[in-house]
């Protein structure tokens, strides 16, 4: 009998894929704002999948950082640039076809590889709570963590520099 978690998995998985599809290939709208909105929904659905995988902290971060910060940034830029809809006639069938072929090839190969792998027996569950993750981050992964903070600083400086009116 399928358990509730399984049903939830199928639900979230279907939502994720559906929103993802609407994000990149919405047949009704080519407005970037629409895409951005569907991306937010995709990310939130994924947060549901994370919870099903007991990665509670990451689920929270996903919603906070992606759906919150990153998507706001996207929308902000879209508004700033005042982007129009993509003109439909520009969508060349050839390009789309080629893209589909490449995508299908990669997807086919990866799925085949996934299916041919030996299924893992489910072991004991680790809880992706804040505490164990925090312990891991500040003990085993302390150095990468610190380096990451420098990376963020560098990115910040870089963005400020890039966004200045006159690049001299």
């Amino acid at each position: 009998m399928p358990q509730l978690t399984d049903l939830l998995f199928y639900g979230f998985a279907a939502l994720t894929l559906l929103f993802g599809f609407l994000c990149v290939a919405n047949p009704l709208s080519r407005n970037p704002v629409t895409s951005a909105m569907f991306l937010v929904l995709t990310i939130i659905s994924m947060a549901g999948l994370f919870i099903l995988l007991h990665a509670f902290f990451l689920a929270a971060v996903q919603v906070l950082v992606y759906a919150g910060a990153v998507m706001v940034l996207f929308l902000f830029v879209i508004m700033l640039l005042d982007l129009k809809e993509e003109e439909r006639r520009k969508l060349r069938k050839f390009t789309v076809g080629l893209g589909a072929v490449a995508v299908a090839a990669i997807a086919g190969i990866l799925i085949k590889a996934t299916l041919s792998a030996v299924p893992l027996a489910a072991g004991k569950v680790v809880e992706g709570n804040t505490k164990p993750l925090g312990v891991a981050l500040f003990t085993q992964y302390l150095l990468p963590f610190e380096i990451l903070s420098i990376l963020l600083l560098v990115a910040m400086v870089g963005v400020i520099l890039l966004s200045k009116k006159e690049l001299k």
């Binding site: 399928p2 358990q3 399984d6 998985a13 994720t16 993802g20 994000c23 990149v24 290939a25 080519r30 970037p32 951005a36 991306l39 995709t42 990310i43 994924m46 999948l49 099903l52 995988l53 902290f57 990451l58 971060v61 996903q62 950082v65 992606y66 910060a69 990153v70 940034l73 996207f74 830029v77 879209i78 700033l80 640039l81 993509e86 520009k90 893209g99 589909a100 995508v103 990669i106 997807a107 990866l110 996934t114 299916l115 299924p119 569950v125 680790v126 992706g128 164990p132 993750l133 981050l137 992964y141 990451l148 990376l151 963020l152 990115a155 910040m156 963005v159 890039l162 966004s163 009116k165």
Partner: protein
């Protein structure tokens, strides 16, 4: 039969692959730089999903730590990337990849 229905590692991985493919398709087929960027984000998220699934089914936290890092880096990357798009738009007044072919020369 129930093993087929019960959500295992393979199920998550297939979702991850499909999501990745959607993202790739977006990168390949769309024209708007910002939407292409969104495709990239989708691909990154697909990788995140796979990592979290591995972490869960291997009972190992390392995968989640990695995802944490990826989210951070992705945030930084989005910031820089969008800043680049803004700079580019100021210069060329366009955010369409087809108008940006100066790499040819």
């Amino acid at each position: 039969m129930s093993a087929m229905i019960q959500a295992g590692l393979q199920h998550y991985l297939i979702v991850s692959v499909l999501l990745f493919s959607l993202g790739l398709f977006g990168v390949l087929a769309r024209r708007n730089l910002i939407v292409i960027y969104m495709g990239l984000e989708l691909m990154l998220n697909a990788a995140n999903l796979a990592l979290v699934a591995f972490s869960h089914f291997n009972a190992n936290l390392n995968g989640q730590v990695m995802v944490f890092f990826i989210i951070t880096v992705a945030a930084a990357e989005v910031a820089v990337g969008l800043a680049l798009i803004v700079a580019l738009y100021r210069k060329r007044s366009t955010a369409h990849v087809e108008d940006l072919t100066s790499l040819k020369y």
